[in-house]
Amino acid sequence: MGELRLMKGNEAIGEAAIRAGVDAYFGYPITPQSEVIEYLMAEKPHERTGMVVLQAESEVASINMVYGAAATGKKVMTSSSSPGVSLMMEGVSYIAGAELPCVLVNVVRGGPGLGTIQPSQADYFQATKGGGHGDYRMIVLAPASVQEMSDFIKLAFELAFRYRNPAMILSDGVIGQMMEKVVLFDPIPRWTEEEIIKMSPWATTGKPLNRERNIITSLDLQPHVQEQRNIRLQNKYATIQEKEVRCEKIACDDAEYLIVAYGSSARIAQKALDIARAQGIRLGLLRAITLWPFPTKQIRELLGHVKGILTVELSSGQMVEDVRLAVEGRVNVEFYGRMGGMIYTPEEILGVLKAKIIGE
């Protein structure tokens, strides 16, 4: 077993980055995720692994530093919170268009605008439906514990490199700020320059005389060429959709009613589930782990015995649209949310479930 520590979610991101053999982190402070760069700076990863940590002049610069280094086949990442992630969206679109691997962490806070520094899940649309311009997708992972903050760094890089695609960890202020036990994975050495050149022959690492030059761009001035790029992207996204869906099903086998939630909301919903089960209500919980690709099929599979679904999110209702698309009107899907940094209680969720789904 790896090393056991008590850590904040944000600190776990930093530690996991060093252990995952990340080559560089570029970021800019913003509440509630500044502990990521603070932890990294304090840890002196350049001494531990040679990892580069740089505080950029803005989130715009951060993501473009990531874009530059990712083009060279390095393992690079950034992190921010909602307003900062909005600033990064242009860069993410370029990275997705140029098909580069990298990892972003969004420790979501309430919006719109400057909003609040308190936790929220209102960036689901931005993360899963684009955010930047053009037809692209990010792989989106939603941790619900400090343990997953650590584990998903490793997983996100694996997926990002497997598909040459940006991957995002969509967390929130609760998971970022809380401390829990975490078992840290054993360190993975950083790739050598020779390994990178071998593994990523497409990367702009400097042109040897015996290969054609590598060009990293998202630009195709001729429409038929740009369409081909888009078709290639869509084919890749279809493969990811097919192979990489992840979710956790809790007490779903005999469930008459289902809650669908992710991240911190899933933790609160689980408490609601415990209370409901104690009251004899056959409630299940489907926790989406990948938000894109979305567990559409996994939800559909439960419709044989599930009579109604409540989706809970700390937003005005974003993921619920994907739940409704999965269900295609076959059962009643209702939504309950709180906004602006407010957080529901398990009792509140259960009350809504009884009123809107069970019909008491």
Binding site: L6, T31, I117, E180
Partner: protein, 182 residues
Amino acid sequence: MTEEIIIAGFGGQGVLSMGKILAYSGIMQDQEVSWMPSYGPEMRGGTANVTVILSDERISSPILHFYDTAIILNQQSMDKFEPSVKPGGVLIYDGNGITRHPSRKDIHIYRVDAADEATRLGLSKIFNMIVLGGYMKVKPVVRLENVILGLKKSLPHRYHDLIPDNEKAILRGMEIIEEVKV
């Protein structure tokens, strides 16, 4: 067993670190733990609070609205959290600066005047450890030896010479805490 605690007071009173020591102590006795702070500008001189959960089972929600125990160190927190103690639960407070004392009859109320005692002992920096001692007397959820182990784990090495003072403060807290009858 699950113990759900809120510790609330001013930033700078050691609220967050008391919670951290409790969480570490829980780990030392193989429990599941969570530590969820209030965060943001209110940390800087304003009110600060932290929710700590110690449990023998997997912890579901780290966010709570009702608590088994509330440890309250200023008036704002008294106003905010006295109503959030579960019936039959425990409220522990330091009387220093409290103008409206707790009045609920369906909970157990204890007073530990840790601030005054810390000044008297010349240990004002570890005032929070006196409070912690009081809590440990009333609710023996974490054992002293695990708290000491937790301190060793959470304190940087250069502060390890302060551990005996911490222990002294905990023991003093255990002595001076008193039940208050409403």
